[in-house]
Point group: C2
Chain length 289, copies 2
Amino acid sequence: MRTVTKDNITDVFMGYFGPDTDPRLREVMASLAKHLHAFAKDVNLTHAEWQKGIEFMEWAGEISDKERHEFVLLSDVLGLSSLVDMINSVPEGTSSSVLGPFHISGAPDIPFGHDMKRDYEGEVLLARGRVTDPSGNPIEGAKIDIGQTAPNGLYSSQDPDQDTYSFHGIQTTGADGAYGFTTVKPVSYTVPTDGPVGDILRATGRHPWRPSHLHYIITADGYRPLVTEIFPDDDPYLDEDTVFGVREDLVMKYVEQTPETFPDGYDLSGSVDEPYLVADFDLKLVPLT
Amino acid sequence: MRTVTKDNITDVFMGYFGPDTDPRLREVMASLAKHLHAFAKDVNLTHAEWQKGIEFMEWAGEISDKERHEFVLLSDVLGLSSLVDMINSVPEGTSSSVLGPFHISGAPDIPFGHDMKRDYEGEVLLARGRVTDPSGNPIEGAKIDIGQTAPNGLYSSQDPDQDTYSFHGIQTTGADGAYGFTTVKPVSYTVPTDGPVGDILRATGRHPWRPSHLHYIITADGYRPLVTEIFPDDDPYLDEDTVFGVREDLVMKYVEQTPETFPDGYDLSGSVDEPYLVADFDLKLVPLT
């Protein structure tokens, strides 16, 4: 009889694998089992702790649905999502960063100059820049999937009072690679704390805040897709983003401008009569190899 | 600004912890983060693989309910459940083994000699033994929560055609520490393969079989609870239990007996007219310290 022990269980586990197992799957599962088993042995995990872990996962499953992704949030607050971003980042391009659990697909196309702020309260932010290759050449036809919270700190997917796609839109660049739109100045917000991930944060004395940001997902034929977000440099949570999403090159300055400088070509052109902010940020894509 | 990198993310993660964090929670989370991050780095986990993992967990959550515990099954087939058993086992007592995802609470009390087989087809198995301390002294008032599958390989919690507690019961030992009941000879069975865990088994070329067994959960005042299961030594899956539950001291022999030897004191006494099997197994509990 094969005797399974705590010393050989990882080998026994791998010995169960069939000969036709995909080599990459074998590699991933071998490392997963090695680290999972080493974790349990390193801390001498008790039955009661194991049971808590199971109940945690079951609760995360129960609270999840099409719009609530507690396992993504768990990965985010454990630093796994950011680590995967960093492992797969390409130094020639703009850094990637976490997408987070609130992204919704199917946002409407918006033209250059579109206003996403509408009647919401808050400072006008004009966000603009160019999508380029690593040498700075403009990329035409790049699609930028834009998303942010409303001024109440909630994404539309979390907030029944918002339209499905409020503060979301997809803009396509022209020959000059330029994008540009107006919105409301993003706010710092907390990740949801009413589920098991909130329990972890409380139990470990962590706050649930993220620095304010704009999400951009950029796709263009022939280039690696880029999932990223940009942060203003004066946000109080920049040093301690609860999901570890801040990268040095994604931090930029909102520059305040007087109303008369507001450019043409925007829905709000001619109607801005207060100082407004400008977020100028170029997005560098890396060609597919 | 604090720059998070793949080299410092584990330290940054621990740096977020509050000073009042429970020391054991800090220890467990530090090891979990260390191994989780090392896993992602060791295999250079891609975004697509991460996404598959998230979808796996979400599916496991969706398929789980009060009677289906896919996260327990995942822990079982990854060897984690068995490893936790082995980490916490006490050499002086009977080995513990996995409870599995099908246990139901609240089984009815059954007297010594009770027949759980009733009208089900199959060989009669008489299971008996004593609950003792490590020196072999009988333990009075020990409760044995007994469970097994029906001959179709399904637990009552999986099978709408069975009564809620068929093949389940709780027996309390008398002054001699003895337990005894009749049932049907257990069968090898497969864990459920219609969920994400089934997908893992198929993708890695693993079979879903468990060797046949009887589950015993034994509790007694002043002793460590024991969750275990016993296996006949002729089961074809003894060497490759898909949940790694077999321990040397839990393997025993079903001894065939002629009908006229059937003992008094059992519901079936006097009515057995075919050869029957005997599973004699003593259960050693370890005092609480």
